[in-house]
Symmetry: C2
Subunit: 168 residues, 2 copies
């Protein structure tokens, strides 16, 4: 059996993630203003919600993610050709994303990019961006804002045979 | 000076909140299904996002709420006539909502309803539902899904003179 290949885990930044979507965090806001007579600050408009294609609407759901153990073998990549998908962690722990560029399904390990995401940060995948399903090392719930509607909004490819993983 | 009037704080439930919007929590889902080869459970479609009126779109923002001290005087009620507004707490603490029915602005204390909301639960205010700005007793961030667009989407009334409060 060949040795698994470790994909480097990069710190996330808006610049590094720009091809894939937006980061949802207070330090990502280009517009910040006080509301509620000073009792709240609004970090405004952090993600591009894009769910209307083919009669879709925006839904709010919760995903409860089960933990993976290090090293984490990467098994599948998926994309949603009809809508964006935002994930905001509710559990106070860092998490991991693995993405590839939109378009044709990724075909090789060097087309995958792994990022560590702080507990206080969500991400919004642009429509059509290939991503691995949720990756956490402790159970964690996420608020998810994505497209709900008819049509085939899920493409998946199996990548277990590539033998790649994330290592601690 | 007259004595402040305490508004009773009720435990929240979908039934009690049905006139005002939806609750966002895993125990509120009518559709629950496994996804990601069993690595996640989807608690599906928990809120009615309603932001399209007058060319609006759905945005994702973060509100950082500043703490109030008990007893909490109620100062203002607001409503968004053009769109729904969902709040999901990110800080792991219970919070409070005060609402009134949609339509004309509330005119008396007995038109206000106060609820304690668990840390794991968000709420979505239906379009036009009058509500008090965020009420927390420790600083807490919220993910907010609401309408972004032109038009006047904020109505406010000052209610400090009513002399009502929430007491611990």
């Amino acid at each position: 059996m060949t040795q698994p290949i470790n994909i480097p885990i990069l710190p996330i930044s808006a610049e590094a993630f720009a091809s894939f979507g937006q980061l949802i965090a207070v330090d990502q806001a280009s517009r910040v203003f006080d509301i509620n007579a000073g009792y709240a600050t609004r970090f405004h408009d952090l993600a591009q919600v894009d769910t209307a294609l083919d009669g879709g609407r925006t839904g709010i759901s919760i995903f409860a993610a089960r933990p993976r153990n290090w090293p984490i073998p990467l098994s599948v990549m998926e994309c949603h050709p009809l809508g964006s998908q935002a994930f905001m962690p509710l559990g106070g722990q860092d998490w991991l994303v693995v993405v590839a560029r939109p378009g044709s399904a990724p075909a090789a390990i060097d087309q995958l990019y792994a990022f560590q995401v702080p507990a206080s940060m969500g991400v919004n995948y642009d429509r059509g961006v290939w991503h691995h399903p949720l990756l956490v090392t402790q159970a964690c719930d996420f608020l998810v804002i994505d497209r709900i509607g008819s049509g085939n909004n899920l493409q998946e490819i199996e990548i277990s045979r590539w033998g790649c993983q994330l290592a601690e």
